[in-house]
């Protein structure tokens, strides 16, 4: 068993162990299993990563052939290159921290071991997703993480709303997954393989740029990506998915799973390069999503929902990056985002944890002094999120904007949009900070964050702050794209977040500018409500899709097809009654019927007699 296959195996085994034990193990053991397994696989990743840094060799390993029918031969095999390394390190590293954090966060929960079972299963599936060397195996991981997200969102199953949110998350992503599956069918039918590297080669050799097939194929794959990464129009599930425990949101709905779409596109970027149309669509969708989500985030009151929308919008940036062909920039933002968003979520979790499950930011406030660690991490996280200079977020977002700018014709528009997004980001992130941690306190924290919470926070703080200097081994994965640096653009890029910060200060802390005039106005109210409800897209879908479906289902409930068969039965019953009503039992009538029959027969005879 070599280290490579150990990486997903460890969490998987621990997950199975925890499930089979069915909560009979004491919490300590469960915790050790859950956290330890992820920690170990993190170590394995580190080993592999170092090895890779040393020789830059792509690692490949085939465990066994999954299916072999004629030329359809997907295998259970792993392919590890720079991109995979980055993803694996994020997953296991951040994952480990979050697991550690969860030990304290979930300490009082009755189904402690079930939680860790799911979490480990998720990590395993996610690793499978990023390590898979063929699209079918990737799809397995893809669905696996979906299921784990379903399980964890609905973890507190007694509340039907959680179940509702969980189902929504799964079904909405399933829609995307179905498109993706169709994409796989198309790719296999056309190119005869699903192994990623041969597939890319085949595509490059058989398809010309901009052909119908590549566009169609990539569009279908994109569908999957949109679903998983909560981009327009399939983003609606993510805010609701906050129903799960906060660490879950941190791991699945911020750091890892939701970025799977980005990974998929990056992984198959050669296909997308064959389909410029799709790539442009990716860019525009990303832009639209990031703006829409940013506006929505401005209006939210629930601390987790704010973060959720900000996640959507940040992933929008990543899609923008992919769309403009800046793949490494996109992946870079993926990583930094994993750091600071995980940090923010964990911090938020700490706040919630200490404020006995208070979610509304306006009932918080003044926590600056009471929860110093949390405050610090929140500050750093928001800074990174807002991309203030020299934070990790700054470098990643900046490179994205530059890449966007340097794109011909549509570039500037995208850039401007991104910039507006950055401004909004700064405003809503610091709105959060100011409202929660400054001003007078509304709720007293009843407990402090223990070391199991604090340590991950601190580590993530460091990463969020300094993550920008990490260099990723992506050069030989993506085509290099140098763009001439325009200083004006850079300066604007630096300035805008600061302006945002200033605005936020004036609005929410200094109160020099008052929102009231805006929010009091009917127009403002409406707008605020509109954004609070996430641009009412949920209602739209509910009326457009959900209600027709349930209506149709209710209509068919009692088997309309049976009407046909029942009508036959009815006809028979009717004819039975009418026929047996002739059987009067009267002798004379019987005689008459005989005569009648006789006459008819004789008549037939006479008619046909020559």
């Amino acid at each position: 068993m070599n280290t490579l296959s150990l990486i997903p195996a460890l969490p998987l085994f621990s997950a199975i162990l925890l499930m089979v034990s069915a909560g009979r193990l004491p919490k300590q053991i469960s915790a050790i299993l859950g956290v330890g397994s992820v920690g170990l696989s993190a170590l394995c990743v580190a080993m592999v990563a170092m090895g890779f840094m040393a020789d830059g060799q792509v690692r490949e390993i085939t465990l066994w052939t999954w299916i072999a029918i004629e030329d359809f031969t997907p295998a259970i095999a792993f392919y590890v290159d720079g991109l995979t390394i980055v993803m694996m390190s994020v997953i296991t590293g951040v994952g480990f921290l979050i697991h550690l954090y969860s030990v304290e966060f979930m300490a009082s929960d009755e189904s402690f071991s079930r939680y860790f079972a799911y979490m480990n299963l998720f990590v395993a599936a996610m690793l499978l997703l990023v390590m898979a060397d063929n699209l079918l195996l990737l799809y397995m991981g893809w669905e696996g993480v979906g299921v784990c997200s379903y399980l964890l969102v609905g973890f507190w199953y007694r509340d039907p709303d959680n179940g509702q949110a969980a189902r929504k998350a799964f079904v909405v992503t399933r829609v995307g997954d179905t498109a993706m599956a169709l994409g796989l069918f198309l790719l296999f039918t056309e190119l005869g393989t699903l192994d990623i590297q041969p597939l890319m080669a085949a595509a490059n050799s058989q398809w010309q740029v901009g052909g119908t097939l590549p566009v169609l194929a990539t569009a279908l794959l994109l569908g999957g990506a949109l679903g998983k990464s909560a981009q327009l129009p399939l983003h609606t599930w993510l805010p609701d998915a906050m129903a799960g425990p906060t660490p879950v949101s941190a791991l699945i709905h911020a750091a890892t799973m939701v970025t799977a779409g980005v990974y998929l596109i990056a992984r198959t970027h050669e296909l997308f390069l064959l389909a410029p149309a799709t790539l442009e669509a990716v860019a525009w969708l990303g832009l639209a999503t990031l703006l829409l989500a940013a506006f929505a985030a401005l209006a939210q009151n629930d601390i987790k929902r704010i973060l959720a929308y900000s996640t959507i919008s940040q992933i929008g940036y990543m899609f923008l990056a992919l769309g403009v062909g800046a793949f490494s920039a996109g992946i870079f933002h993926l990583m930094t985002h994993a750091f600071f968003k995980a940090l923010l979520f964990l911090a938020a979790g700490a706040v919630i944890h200490c404020l006995h499950h208070e979610h509304n930011i306006f009932r918080m406030g003044g926590l600056r002094t009471r929860l110093p660690v949390v405050f610090a991490s929140f500050l750093i996280g928001s800074a990174a999120l807002a991309a203030l200079p020299f934070t990790s977020g700054f470098y990643s977002k900046d490179s994205i904007l530059l890449a966007a700018w340097s794109l011909p014709d549509i570039g500037p528009t995208l850039w401007a949009g991104g910039l507006l997004g950055a401004l909004l980001t700064a405003i809503y992130s610091f709105r959060l900070v100011f409202v929660v941690f400054f001003g007078e306190a509304n709720t007293e924290p009843d407990k402090q964050a223990g070391w199991k919470m604090a340590v991950p926070l601190i580590i993530l703080c460091v990463l969020a702050a300094a993550g920008g200097w990490i260099s990723q081994p992506l050069d030989d994965v993506f085509p290099a794209q140098g763009h001439d640096v325009v200083h004006v653009i850079e300066y604007i890029g630096i300035a805008v977040p600061l302006i945002g910060l200033l605005l936020a200060y004036l609005l929410f802390l200094g109160k020099q500018l008052s929102l009231s005039s805006l929010t009091e106005s009917s127009m403002g109210k409406a707008l605020q409500d509109f954004w609070l409800k996430g641009w009412r897209i949920d209602d739209l879908y509910h009326n457009l899709l959900v209600r027709p479906f349930t209506g149709f289902a209710r209509l068919c409930r009692n088997e309309p097809v049976d009407l046909f068969y029942n009508s036959i039965a009815g006809a028979l019953r009717w004819s039975h009654r009418s026929l047996s009503s002739i059987q009067t039992g009267e002798l004379r009538w019987y005689a008459t019927s005989m005569v009648f029959g006789l006459i008819v027969l004789v008549a037939i005879m006479l008619r046909n007699a020559s």
């Binding site: 028979l572 019953r573 004819s575 039975h576 009654r577 026929l579 047996s580 002739i582 059987q583 039992g585 002798l587 009538w589 019987y590 005689a591 019927s593 005989m594 009648f596 029959g597 006789l598 008819v600 027969l601 004789v602 037939i604 005879m605 006479l606 046909n608 007699a609 020559s610």
Partner: protein, 485 residues
């Protein structure tokens, strides 16, 4: 008349003799045990006498009787059926009627009539056989208990079947007028010269067909069937449903073959019309019957409808052999099955106080307290429904093969539809029999002499054997058919 003639008529002679002996025995001393014993002995003897007769046929014994394998096979069948009937009806009679012995006498006479029909090669023998059978049946229906229902049944049957006989006779009279002979074969030769399609001929033929069609209860001559079946005592109904129908059909078949009536297309067409009506109407009428006797009556209408298909198929010379073969197999299977079904009803009614237990709820739960009889009924019903492993299935398969070989799609279609409907009402009885004990109230206890049990087992066995290893019978039928044609 030489020895061979006597041999070839053995069944008839034995039956006649038996009848005489029985009469004397009853006159001297009334003892149902003795009478029934004698009856069964006579019938069995008659049945087995066909073995001796076997190598003396085929031959004409006087122009009236045609002794061939066909006649022998069916005589044997009728005698056995009668024997089974009399065994099963002993207990039934015991607690009905004060002087039940004549029942057996009438039974034998009726059987004799049936056998004569099987032999009939001439109008006279046809007439005598038919009337001997029918008249004894009228008596049988009314005799065992003289309550209202049997009487009503008897008088209805008497009047209507009298009318039917008259119709048939009138038809024959016209035929005789045109052909100048009453012997079937000769009549056939005459018909060849007489140009087919002359109005009188057709009318005459169709009148005969309707007359016999009444006995076969083909729609629209079927009205009497349910009432008579319902009113008659269960054992008599069984006999009526199986033997009398089979006998009449054999006679009809013989007449058609001998005086080759297949040549009249329009006649064949009208027969297929009767067949279609019978199949559909019979099954539809049986659909929701809660009285098992009536249900079986209607289903017998349908079955006769299936059966006459073979007359239609036989009109094509190439398929005639197959058709007749199928018809004979069907008759045998149907007789055995019907005897079994009504045998159960007889047993059920044997304890009833002058009331016949033939409603659905009477058999409810039967499976659990009378497993043997219940399985007898179940096998019989499955056979009637034509489910594999039973005689009925092979018979139906035979019919279908015949019909397919002649491309009779319409008849096939109505056969399928009919059988489809049929499944429902047969299964309903089975469902009632398997209802859980707590779900039903009364449970008629059927008597269980070892003889009765043995007979029931034998019936089950024969139905299943006919359904699983039909080859021997098929071979035999084929071999004798070479001779018949």
């Amino acid at each position: 008349m030489n020895a061979a003639d006597f041999y070839s008529l053995a069944p008839l002679l034995i039956l006649a003799g038996g009848a005489t002996i029985l009469m004397l025995q009853i006159a001297f001393r009334r003892d149902i045990k003795l009478t029934s014993a004698l009856t069964v002995a006579t019938l069995v003897a008659a049945a087995f006498s066909i073995i001796g007769a076997d190598d003396n046929v085929p031959r004409f014994v006087t122009p009236l009787l045609r002794a061939d394998h066909l006649a022998l096979v069916f005589s044997g069948l009728f005698c056995l059926a009668a024997a089974v009937t009399s065994i099963l009806s002993i207990d039934y009679l015991r607690q009905r009627g004060d002087e039940p012995e004549e029942f057996f006498l009438l039974l034998i006479l009726s059987t004799l009539g049936a056998c004569v029909l099987a032999y009939a090669a001439h109008l006279a023998s046809l007439l005598l056989g038919l009337e001997l059978m029918s008249i004894s049946l009228y008596a049988l229906i009314a005799y065992p208990d003289k309550t209202k229902l049997p009487l009503e049944a008897a008088i209805k049957y008497l009047v209507l079947s009298g009318a039917a006989t008259a119709t048939m006779l009138f038809g024959f009279a016209l035929l005789y007028g045109t052909t100048g002979t009453m012997q079937f074969a000769a009549m056939g030769d005459q018909l060849v010269d007489a140009h087919a399609g002359s109005a009188v001929l057709l009318v005459a033929a169709v009148m005969v067909v309707s007359g016999l069609g009444f006995k076969l209860s083909l729609v629209p001559f079927h009205m009497w069937t349910p009432d008579v079946y319902d009113g008659a005592p269960a054992p008599v109904t069984g006999f009526l449903a199986s033997v009398s129908k089979a006998a009449v059909f054999v006679a009809l078949l013989r007449w058609f073959l001998a005086s080759d009536l297949f040549r009249f297309d329009i006649l064949i067409d009208s027969i297929s019309l009767l067949a279609i009506f019978s199949m559909l109407a019979g099954n539809i009428l049986a659909l929701l019957q809660s009285n098992i006797k009536r249900m079986l009556a209607y289903s017998s209408i349908a079955h006769m409808g299936y059966l006459v298909i073979i007359l239609v198929v036989g009109s094509n010379m190439d398929n005639r052999a197959l058709a007749i073969e199928a018809g004979m197999y069907y008759l045998i299977a149907y007789t055995v099955t019907t005897i079994a079904a009504f045998g159960l009803l007889t047993l059920l009614s044997s304890e009833g106080h002058h009331r016949e237990n033939v409603q659905l709820h009477d058999v409810s739960g039967l499976f659990w307290h009378q497993p043997l009889y219940a399985s007898l009924m179940m096998v019989a019903l499955l056979s009637l429904a034509g489910i594999p492993l039973t005689a009925g299935f092979i018979a139906k398969f035979y019919l279908i093969s015949a019909a397919v070989s002649d491309f009779r799609w319409v008849l096939l279609g109505s056969l399928v539809v009919g059988s489809g409907i049929g499944i429902y009402y047969y299964l309903r009885v089975i469902f009632y029999m398997t209802r859980k004990v707590e779900e039903h109230n009364n449970n008629p206890v059927a008597p269980g002499g070892w003889l009765v049990k043995a007979v029931s087992c034998a019936l089950i066995a024969s139905i299943l054997l006919l359904g699983t290893v039909p080859q021997p019978l098929m071979e035999y039928l084929r071999s004798i058919l070479q001779v018949v044609n």
